[in-house]
């Protein structure tokens, strides 16, 4: 079961400011990453079909902010947003950050994470299924690709992230 996290969760003093600062710092990185992915994996958009125009909220429960994605190839949106100012979206995907990252990279199975209740979805289920299938058809690791864009520091951050999370959410045969 994932920790409770609502998009408009009550904030402790100072958390709102931290979230806003984190969003500001992250935004240029996110913009570069999403543009790169769109350029290198154009087939991703075909599988999204009509849900290219859907707004998704990707909510890593332990981080102070969520991610707003609109996978429209003509007007891509991928931005960090404080939860208390998150937009109304068509679908929300919620889980621990590394789990979400590993789902994107096909290191984890989305259905298994759903069965175990480590992954929670709400809103338009078809949109989520399309996004999942589109991402799953990408070859390679999005996380590796994104970290490599920032050279040695990027790869170091990714390695540190992975070390910070135990493999408790992974199927045992991969451990």
């Amino acid at each position: 079961m994932i920790p409770t996290s609502e998009p408009t969760a009550r904030l402790r003093p100072g958390e709102g400011a931290i979230a806003r600062l984190a969003c500001l710092v992250l935004q240029p990185v996110l913009t570069r990453v999403v543009r790169r992915v769109a350029t290198r994996h154009p087939s991703l958009f075909a599988r999204l079909g009509p849900h290219q125009a859907t707004d998704f909220l990707i909510d890593p429960v332990e981080l102070p902010f969520a991610l707003h994605l609109r996978p429209d190839p003509q007007a891509l949106v991928f931005r960090a947003v404080p939860r208390d100012t998150a937009p109304q979206v068509g679908a929300t995907i919620r889980g621990r950050f590394l789990l979400l990252l590993e789902l994107i990279d096909a290191e984890q199975d989305g259905d298994a994470a759903f069965f175990s209740r480590d992954l929670e979805i709400s809103g338009d289920t078809e949109a989520v299924v399309r996004l999942r299938n589109a991402l799953d058809d990408m070859d390679g690791s999005l996380a590796e690709e994104a970290s490599a864009m920032f050279g040695t520091p990027g790869r170091a951050v990714l390695a540190r992230l992975r070390r910070a999370y135990p493999d408790a959410t992974k199927p045992r045969e991969y451990a």
């Binding site: 290191e107 069965f115 209740r117 979805i121 289920t125 078809e126 799953d136 070859d139 045969e173």
Partner: protein, 332 residues
């Protein structure tokens, strides 16, 4: 000993390559339309993708089986015929069919391409299976998951075709190809549209106490407590309150997966020719993990070693597994 081919699912081109690389003897897949029973959003292959997939698989000695295993509504057979024409042109190794009209068209038009009888045909008696073999030249039957191993052994003696059994994944016990539960609630047909619990009609609602309700077309079909494992939002695996069971119970089936890893030697001995892994709707991660595990197990058994199968419980529905009717019909 039978060949014990490993038949593996591929919902996307990347999943197909993953299955091939993980050791599949054959992969099965479908087009992005109603001609197959996993017509899910964002899943399946365009003709161009299938062409590349066939090239990739054949270059590595892996067969490609094309699922055309839904039933054309009356007067709308062109979509199925066109899919068969495309599959034949692209060089698939076999068609998996359920409908007699589709089987007849392929048998007459492409007599050189193998026909496999889908589980969607629900053929489980020698008489039914022989009918398909004699009239359409079916070479293999995919058995419904309702027979014990002694029954499969006996069946093998009475039919003139190969047997394929599911060994992992969905544990569907409904009379497949005849289930109208989804149609009843959503208006879409599992058997003719290829959609069981269409995602467009599914909604998950988080309740105030942290529990989660799964709904189909506005009807709540299950409610999972805070620490309870979840299952697919299918009506057959829903939990319902009834006057005699007001606490709620699984009226049809349970969210649980089939796992026959411990029965592989007996299945081979019984004459099963091919082992099928369910899950075209699952991720590459699932395909990689399950195919690798069963590839190693089958290779061990063929080499006379004891199979040391990996623990796949994390990938099962509801994180529960069963040997179902294969072990005993008293399994419930």
């Amino acid at each position: 000993m039978s060949l014990a081919e490993l038949i593996c699912p591929a919902g996307t081109p990347a999943a197909l390559r993953t299955a091939v690389d993980a050791g599949a003897d054959a992969v099965y897949c479908g087009f992005q339309d109603a001609t197959n029973a996993r017509n899910f959003p964002g899943l399946n292959f365009t003709p161009d993708e299938l062409a590349e997939a066939v090239t990739y698989a054949h270059a590595r000695g892996t067969k490609v089986l094309l699922a055309l295993n839904t039933y054309p509504p009356a007067g709308k057979v062109d979509l199925w015929r066109h899919a068969a024409d495309t599959g034949a042109r692209l060089g698939v190794d076999a068609f998996i069919v359920a409908d007699m009209g589709v089987a007849d068209y392929i048998a007459r038009t492409y007599p050189g391409i193998r026909l496999h009888l889908s589980v969607q045909a629900a053929a489980s008696s020698p008489e039914a299976i022989r009918y398909y073999c004699e009239n359409f030249g079916v070479k293999r039957v995919v058995l419904p998951r309702i027979l014990t191993i002694p029954e499969i052994r006996q069946l093998r003696r009475e039919i003139p075709c190969e047997i394929e059994t599911f060994i992992f994944g969905n544990h569907g016990l409904m009379v497949e190809g005849r289930c109208s539960l989804t149609n009843y609630l959503t208006g879409q047909s599992t058997n003719m549209d290829g959609v069981c619990s269409p995602a467009s009609d599914v909604e998950y609602v988080r309740d105030a106490d942290g529990s989660m309700s799964s709904q189909l077309a506005g009807f709540t079909i299950d409610r999972f407590g805070v620490d309870e494992k979840a299952g697919y939002p299918t009506i057959c695996k829903g939990r319902y309150a009834a006057p005699h069971r007001p606490e709620g119970y699984y009226a049809f089936e349970e969210p649980i997966s089939l796992n026959l890893s411990r029965l592989l030697p007996e299945l081979i001995e019984a004459g099963v020719h091919a082992f099928k892994i369910e899950g075209r709707q699952r991720s590459k991660s699932y395909v990689r993990g399950v195919v690798r595990a069963f590839r190693a197990a089958v290779d061990d058994i063929k080499a006379g070693r004891e199979a040391n199968i990996a623990d796949l419980i994390a990938l099962t529905e509801g994180q529960k597994q069963t040997q179902g009717a294969f072990e005993t019909k008293k399994w419930r």
